[in-house]
Symmetry: C2
Amino acid sequence: MAVTDVRLRSNQPKPLALSEPLERRSAFAAFGTTMSYVRNNTIFSEGDDADYSYEVLTGAVRLSKMMSDGRRQIAEFALAGDYFGINWLEEHAMTAEALSDVKVARYARGRLERLGDENREVRAALYASLRHDLWAAQNHLVILGRQSALERTASFLVQLMDRKQGTANNILEIPMTRQDIADYLGLTIETVCRMLTKLKQLAIIDTPDRHTIAVGKPAALRRASQPEE
Amino acid sequence: MAVTDVRLRSNQPKPLALSEPLERRSAFAAFGTTMSYVRNNTIFSEGDDADYSYEVLTGAVRLSKMMSDGRRQIAEFALAGDYFGINWLEEHAMTAEALSDVKVARYARGRLERLGDENREVRAALYASLRHDLWAAQNHLVILGRQSALERTASFLVQLMDRKQGTANNILEIPMTRQDIADYLGLTIETVCRMLTKLKQLAIIDTPDRHTIAVGKPAALRRASQPEE
DNA sequence: CGTGCCATTGAGTCAATTCAACTTAAGTGG
DNA sequence: CCACTTAAGTTGAATTGACTCAATGGCACG
């Protein structure tokens, strides 16, 4: 199979300046192996040897950390085109699980590193991916540390919209459950639910079914994700 | 002046496996310029052109993001030996301010990148720094998203202890104010204060003065930073 | 047409915040 | 060196936003 290109997307949660360019490179050659995982299966666990890095081809993956008493924090949702598992050390720092049925391309880490050593372009792509993840994590910190429940929920939806720029981005097909959203935003499932209801009451969004969110008023949603003025 | 070595330290907030190795390299040559900043002055602001990268020589720096209504989230405290401002894009994603009077080494970004392109060792150091920051941010996410006020405060102190391993790490000289700690932990100044008092009442720490915290029972502190069992 | 999972809504509680008073420490300038 | 001023820290009381607990509704799947 052929893995086509290294794509980096910009999921911008804030006004926060900083426009990560939508780069497109054909950096990794077609030496990945395609793997499939069914919904809710684990791709790798926190602490596993980081022998492979991955790219999402179809479907979605959640990357999370778990505390010993079961509290969970999701750091990122990897969607089609996203990389995960490149950035870590000898051991994976996160658990990766299939949100939906997924196809991923799997790259042997050693090979990728060797390639990066030789090839300037591959190196740049790896570096860009790492930098993107850092950038995303730092924006995430603001959401978790300083935003209200409503702002968080709105921010999350804005991120999803911005991640699929180019396409009709007003109807969001979300693969994750309310619990996943809660664990991403540092809230409970009930609070996420209430905030979605609130946004619905404000006529900003609509939720025709569990996994669809229609953003009727994107501008209002963006406003809801930020401080008043 | 001569900037000696690229040091990476492990500030481990959790059991979370993952031992970032205490590497020591002499990667960047002595081409940095020494700069001094007095307490509370800005080194660069979010949105500024990222022309330079920095290393803390003495003192401490806070790296933060600010929302338009003044809410602030501190992402990191850079202490002596730490790098900051390497990881970002064309524009700095954070504001860097002097916590105390600081001396920093300043490196022209273009030069650093060129050097990284040529020199494998420099490249590894840059990559390691980036990876460290990502790792730290991801741990920070768990703290902000899923820990209680007491756990956060304890985690913060544990991080400080672990960052100065090797030295007598039970007496912490902290350059930051309570407000800084609050903005790092996603709490209010009052809550931080109350949690410190609580730790004091539990005889786990003592606060002889504002900028000194003596950790009498490190093990108990570590326990307080994690879920029971 | 149950059975079970996920989502939603309501009611009551609680942890952390807000508001406010007061204490302590750190300058600053006479 | 001491009075004066300002900033930082601490404590208490009241408030509140998000949480917990509990019950119900809606789909999907066998």
